[in-house]
Amino acid sequence: MKIEILGPGCPKCNKLMELTEKVVKEMGISAEISKVDEINDIINYGVMVTPALVIDGEVKVSGRIPPEDELKNWIKK
């Protein structure tokens, strides 16, 4: 599973990164988490409001930090 966090380095993006790392660790799933912070790359995902979460190329959420249970649901699938 490939998880990407999109965001140019604002505090919210860092918080989403931490949260994702925590959830993945808790669920014991092997996932590759990476950060995309180049604006032109972010735009290529079609995302405008950061932070955004992309799982296997699909944009799951943008513009807010999802609650933990929502995040777990996406990662489970």
């Binding site: 965001g7 140019p8 380095g9 604002c10 505090p11 919210k12 918080k15 604006i39 032109n40 972010i42 735009i43 995902y45 079609g46 995302v47 405008m48 409001v49 950061t50 955004a52 944009v59 799951k60 959420v61 943008s62 513009g63 807010r64 609650p67 929502e70």
Partner: protein, 387 residues
């Protein structure tokens, strides 16, 4: 490398300690001015103005769906609508300056195109809620309103100019629209959310109501402002209990705290620097008032041009433009030049110019910068002339 770095830090501390002109009276005076100014902010602006403002900003980030605004900026959106939405949506979308550039890039490459994108880029930083509230509170009501209105009007003009100059160049990657992720179901009806925001703004307005004896009604409101504020706070608390889930409230508090954590330290650093350089209004600190009066006093075209060029180059962390301008105005800067700096400053800085350049190329960036500087100068002169 690490050791050399440590040595360097140690050496700089030593040199500062060795050469610090503590005995110098001008230095002492500037130091005291910065402390006075810090105390003035802490006593007058934090509790009644900044803290409620941060809660409002946190609520905007949490309870207003940003995607509902962004859909008006897509490639198929009505043109007139997209310009108007772009020029005012900074209030909702740009609570923090780091969100402006991705949205700008998105509108430019995937959405409504260069016109609305630059309109948003210009107005966004100037009309975010925190900036307007603090400007109105510290620098005066007229300047706060002029800043918001000026930013909205001129952003449309700049957007249209950019569209007229560069609109024909189609962007190839424009075919695919940006994705808007599904929002979670709203848990409240719209009127409840609207009422909730109205009550919060009401608290902010009435708690800061200042004495004005020109009309009897103002005087009446002033006399019972604490009762009104108290009632509104009770109303707000009952709303929170009845309408909101517990998780929503923790999210609200946490995003408010996120803003506060990020912005307060910068703001107070800005206050200290402003106090050290310019002093409180009516007091002189390190930089002589005559210099400031000479450069940006009065309302000449040069004063306004200088203010907007300086503002365009300088980087202001969110809100720090306010104490710096307070110091400058107190030292003799004209109100027009102050507005010019407010309009050019937060919208542009050397670092943001570089990012904008990577998004739309050198030529467009230069034209955009020129437009911003010219517009800021003109609006500064107009404002200085009128008030």
């Amino acid at each position: 490398m690490n050791e050399i770095y440590r040595l360097f830090i140690l050496l700089s501390i030593f040199l500062i300690a060795y050469f610090l002109p503590i005995g110098n009276s001008a230095f002492q005076n500037a130091l005291f001015e910065s402390l006075y100014m810090l105390q003035e902010y802490a006593r007058q602006h934090v509790i009644l103005c900044l803290i409620p403002a941060f809660f409002i900003a946190g609520a905007i980030a949490n309870f207003i769906s940003q995607n509902s605004v962004i859909k008006y900026l897509g490639p198929k959106a009505n043109k007139i609508l997209s310009y108007s939405v772009a020029s005012v949506s900074g209030t909702i979308l740009a609570v923090c300056s780091c969100t402006v550039l991705p949205i700008f890039a998105g509108i430019y490459k995937r959405g409504a195109g260069i016109g609305p994108a630059t309109a948003f880029l210009y107005s966004g930083p100037a009309i975010n809620v925190l900036a307007i509230i603090l400007t109105a509170r510290v620098l005066g009501f007229e300047l706060g309103i002029a800043r918001a209105l000026g930013a909205i009007m001129f952003s449309i003009i700049i957007g249209l100019c950019m569209h007229l100059i560069f609109g024909k160049e189609q962007i190839s990657e424009n075919s695919e629209s940006f994705k808007i992720t599904e929002d979670k179901k709203e848990s409240r009806s719209l009127w409840k959310t609207a009422l909730y925001f109205t009550v919060m703004v009401g608290i902010l307005v009435f708690a800061n109501w200042s004495k004005d004896e020109s009309l009897r009604i103002w005087q009446l409101i002033y006399n019972c402002k604490w009762y009104i504020t108290g009632i509104l706070i009770v109303v707000l608390i009952s709303m929170l209990i009845v309408w909101f889930r517990k998780t929503e409230l923790t999210q609200w508090i946490s995003s408010t705290w996120l803003f506060a954590k990020q912005i307060f330290p910068l703001l107070f650093a800005g206050v200290i620097v402003a106090g050290f350089l310019f002093g409180r209004p009516g007091h002189q600190a390190l930089i002589p008032n005559e210099w400031i009066t000479k450069l940006v006093g009065g309302n000449s075209i040069w004063a306004n041009l200088f203010a907007s060029v300086a503002g365009a180059l300088m980087y202001f962390a969110t809100l720090t433009e306010v104490p710096i301008l307070q110091g400058l105005i107190g030292s003799g800067m004209g109100k027009g030049s102050a507005l010019a700096l407010l309009l050019a400053g937060p919208a542009l800085s050397l670092p943001s110019m570089l990012v904008i350049k990577t998004i739309m190329g050198t030529k467009k960036t230069i034209v955009y910068i020129l437009l911003v500087v010219i517009m800021a100068t003109i609006s500064g002169m107009l404002f200085g002339y009128l008030f």
